[in-house]
Subunit: 213 residues, 2 copies
């Protein structure tokens, strides 16, 4: 004995979500049916609207329902600095820090030859063109510090290593890898610690000069 | 900087689900937008259809899109045995055992005076009427073994304790509480162990009579 067809269909639809199994899907469906029909209707409407209405920004490729996303069309952002990330969620994560005022370029993935994802699928040629045509002075490579993310970052850096861009003084940087804030050295893996050491930064002793004098 | 309005609206709609916070909702939305638009559309359609199409069975009150649910309209089920449960999920759980051939009565909750849920909201009067009018010979009280579930079970038992029903030989039973299969006595709470002891059952020694003789 199963649930009735409409309910079973809805459970199956929820099961397509990542990390949602049979029990969770059942719980979600019964929540809406037993306690929140209005919320269910609202979710259905929001889903239908987003699936058809959300496309990609024509400049930075992030998910957006307008031709230019909110960041690319913002007059106060520094359009000369481009932060290259893998997904729209990464854009949101960087935005949450409120420490970055430039714009983004979203690859929508990383290089993965085994899955048939090459430079063209990630729009790396579009990025290089943008850097050449628009007055970009720095490209920050903020792909994930995974094997694929690193490879993607190095590939992009290589593509940007062109005489005319070097001459123009284009800077290409990679986000720092190291010990996360609040972390303990004892529990950090060797690879991260190695990056943390090799990426060490000189401390400014300006405030202590009178002591050492 | 937030997500664009359509995306933010969708994230907020997913957040109404139990156990889904900001991060999970964001992950679900980006999954559909980046990788599975077809799945998103299917979920939207299934949700809309279920929210409007699913009602309650007129006999057992479980969620159903037809007037009589699949169990109540099944000719091979024993309509003289009624299993009283709290939610449609409980019906599904009992059905999964494939050990029960009777029908159900779904309270859609438990007695909770503090939330204003009394016997009428749970349809207990409907249940009593059904037992009086239809030839029911056993009512199995399968509400949860929580304080509210126990109180609900005892209340129903009291309502069914009527001279004409007792005369007719109606049996009212409660599901057994005890040590779950695969459990270890050492880690079972005292209350469960107490129920397990007081609910002990005599073992049939029929096969051993020649040994003890």
């Amino acid at each position: 004995m199963n649930y009735s067809p409409l309910i079973q269909q809805l459970i199956d639809a929820f099961k397509r979500l990542p990390g949602v199994g049979n029990k969770s899907a059942q719980r979600m469906v019964l929540h809406f049916l037993e306690r929140d029909r209005e919320g269910g209707r609202r979710l259905a409407a929001a889903l239908a609207a987003a699936m058809d209405g959300v496309g990609q920004c024509c400049v930075c490729r992030t998910l957006s329902e307008t031709e230019h996303c909110g960041i690319c069309s913002h007059p106060a952002r520094d359009h000369g600095t481009v932060c290259v990330v893998e997904t729209p969620a990464d854009v949101f994560a960087v935005e949450q820090t409120a420490a970055y005022r430039g714009r983004y370029f979203v690859l929508m993935g990383h290089l993965s030859p085994i899955d048939g994802i090459g430079p063209a699928a990630l729009g790396i040629d579009v990025l290089v063109q943008q850097v050449q045509n628009i007055a970009v002075h720095e490209v920050i490579l903020a792909t994930n510090p995974t094997v694929e993310g690193e490879a993607t970052a190095w590939y992009i850096a290589e593509q940007l290593n062109r005489p005319e861009l070097v001459e123009r003084g284009l800077k290409v940087s990679r986000i720092a890898h190291g010990v996360p804030m609040g972390g303990e050295l004892e529990y950090i893996d060797g690879s991260t610690l190695m990056h943390s050491l090799s990426g060490r930064q000189l401390l400014s002793l300006a405030g202590k000069t009178d002591n050492t004098a």
